[in-house]
Symmetry: C2
Subunit: 278 residues, 2 copies
DNA sequence: CGTCGTATTGAGTCAAGTCAATTCCCGTGG
DNA sequence: CCACGGGAATTGACTTGACTCAATACGACG
C-alpha cells in the first residue's frame, strides 16, 4: 500500500509552507492520522508520516478563479448573503485525507487544484480507487444529504480545496433553485464519472487501460502528473507489478518521456492507438 | 480487450402476451427497433426479435404497491394534484429497450418489477453493462435534468415500469421539496450502485465475481432469477465462455441448483466463501 | 425431424498474476 | 562527503487463470 509518497514529494512540503499555519484545533475536519492500514501484501510497515492539512484562510467565493466550474457557479449576490458559516480554504498534502469513509458528514469539498482519489476498501483488505477528482470537482457530496461518507478521499498531489459546511449547503439548497440544480448536476456528473471508470478503465488489456488513464490525466501540452504504481494498480484493477511493467515499457518505447519523477510528456497519438488496440 | 461480451438479445417474445395490447400509436416512447448493432464478433447475425413494450394503463401512484421505495415516495396529496400529465404503466418484454443512449430525454422510469440492464457501448463495438436495476429503482434519471440518456436501458426479465414524463418531474421538482430530496437521493443511490459495480463486480477472480453477482441477485429464499451468459460476461467484464464455465462448475459442485432454465436455488454460504476467496 | 440460438466443453496460448530479487532515489546521520 | 536505510520502481522466472478458437450438446419451435 502506498504509504511512501507521504514524505516523498518535495512539492508537498513546499506547499504546506505556503499555508499560513493557522491550524484550528477545535474541530479540524482533516484528521491527519494514518490511512487505514490494510493487510499489507509484502510486510510493508504501517506508516503515518501523514502530514495532514493546513487552513489557509477564508474563501472568497465571489472572486474564485474556478467559480464557473465549481459548485457555487451560478449563485447570485443575494444567495451569497445567505451564507453565514465560514467556508475555509484548505491545503492538503499528498497522502493526507480530506475525510474518511464512515465519518460524520460535516462538509463537502470543492477541489480547486491538485488531484484527489476516492478510495473504497475491500473486505479482503485490498483497496480500489473508485474515482479521481480534479479542479472543479466536488468530493463528499453525500454530506449534503446527511449520509455518511462512502469513500475515503485522499490527496494524491498537493491539493487546495474549499471546505463547505453541510449546513451551508443545506440552507442554500432550500433557499435557492440555483444551488439545487447544481447539486443535481454534480450527482449526474459523479455517475458519469463512475460509469466512465468502469467502462474505460475497467475494460481491455493492461496496456490499453494504462493508456486510457494517461489520456484522462493529460493536459493540453500533453504533459501529465502521474502517481505511484500502487495507485495505478488500484485504479485500473491490475497489480502493481503489471502497472510498473507497462509504464516502464511505454517509457522505453518513447511513448512516455519522464521529465522528472512521475511527470511525463506523452505521445498522445500513440496513447490513443494503444487505448483501442489489444 | 476481452471482447467476449458482444451482446445479443434474445428471449423477447413470451411475456409480451401478458400485456394488454392497448398500444398507443401517437408517441410510444418504447420504440421497439433493434438495439444499435455493434460489430458482432462471430458472424452472429444482427437480430431484432425485439418486441417492444405495451401500455398497460394509467398508473395510480397513490395506491402503488412499491410507493415507499419509489421515486414518489413522500409526495403528499397536494403534490399529486400538481400532476397533470399522465403517468403510464408500461410492460416491457425481455430484450426490449425502455430508451436508447442519446435519445431525447422525454421521461424517466420507475421499475416496479423485473430486471433492467443499463448498457454502454464501447468504441470497439463491445458492450458493457454498467448497472442492474430492480423494483424501486429509477432508470433515466438524467431526463430530469434534460440531459440525453447516457445508457440504453433494456429489460432482462419481463419488466413493469411507470413512465414519468420529464415535464412532470420538472414541475414537481420545482414545486415540492419532497421530490427534490428524492431526486438527490436517487442520484446518490445511483452512484453507490455504480461504485459497488466497480468494486464488487470488477475485482477478483472470475469465480469470485460470479459468486458476488449471484449474491446481489439472490432473494430471501435463496432463489435467483439469472440471465444469459453473454450478459453475465458484460456485467463482470469476462468472456461468455468463462461465465459459462464458472456457472456450470458451480452447478456441478452443488453450489447452484437449477430448478428451471436460469432459475437457481443457491447455497448462500458457499457463495459468500467464494466471493472473498481467490 | 431440421433449425436456430444458447450453453457447455475441450485444447492450446498468452497476458497477467505471484514470488523474489535487484536497482534507484533520496534523505539522514555519521 | 559518503555510507546506510527505507520505500518505490523495475525486472526476472515461473505459474496460471482467463481468453481464443472450435466443436458439441441442448432445448424450444415450426
Amino acid at each position: 500500500m502506498p504509504c511512501g509518497w507521504i514524505g516523498r514529494l518535495g512539492a508537498a512540503a513546499e506547499n504546506c509552507d505556503t499555508a499560513r499555519h493557522d491550524h484550528r484545533d477545535d474541530h479540524d475536519p482533516l484528521r491527519s492520522f494514518a490511512v487505514p492500514s490494510r493487510a499489507p501484501r509484502r510486510g510493508c510497515g504501517v506508516k503515518k508520516t501523514d502530514i495532514g492539512a493546513a487552513w489557509r484562510g477564508l474563501a472568497n467565493c465571489k472572486g474564485c478563479g474556478i467559480r464557473e466550474t465549481a459548485l457555487f457557479a451560478d449563485l447570485t449576490e443575494g444567495d451569497f448573503s445567505l451564507i453565514h458559516l465560514p467556508i475555509d480554504e484548505i491545503v492538503v498534502a499528498p497522502g493526507a485525507a480530506l475525510y474518511h469513509v464512515g465519518d460524520e458528514p460535516q462538509a463537502l469539498y470543492t477541489v480547486r487544484s491538485g488531484l484527489v482519489k476516492l478510495v473504497q476498501y475491500l473486505p479482503n483488505g485490498g483497496q480500489r480507487i473508485v474515482r479521481l477528482l480534479r479542479a472543479g470537482d466536488t468530493a463528499g457530496l453525500e454530506a449534503a444529504l446527511g449520509e455518511p461518507y462512502r469513500h475515503t478521499a485522499i490527496a494524491v498531489h498537493p491539493v487546495l480545496t474549499c471546505r463547505i459546511p453541510r449546513a451551508v449547503i443545506q440552507r442554500l439548497s432550500e433557499e435557492t433553485q440555483h444551488l439545487h440544480q447544481q447539486l443535481l448536476r454534480r450527482w449526474h456528473q459523479a455517475v458519469e464519472r463512475a460509469d466512465a471508470f468502469l467502462v474505460e478503465l475497467g475494460t481491455g488489456s493492461a496496456r490499453a487501460r494504462v493508456a486510457r488513464l494517461f489520456l484522462t490525466l493529460i493536459d493540453e501540452q500533453d504533459d501529465c502528473d502521474f502517481f505511484g504504481r500502487e495507485d495505478v494498480g488500484a485504479v485500473l484493477g491490475i497489480t502493481t507489478e503489471t502497472a510498473s511493467r507497462v509504464v516502464a515499457e511505454l517509457k522505453r518505447q518513447g511513448v512516455l518521456d519522464e521529465s522528472r519523477p512521475n511527470r511525463f510528456h506523452c505521445d498522445r497519438a500513440a496513447l490513443r492507438a494503444l487505448a483501442d488496440g489489444p
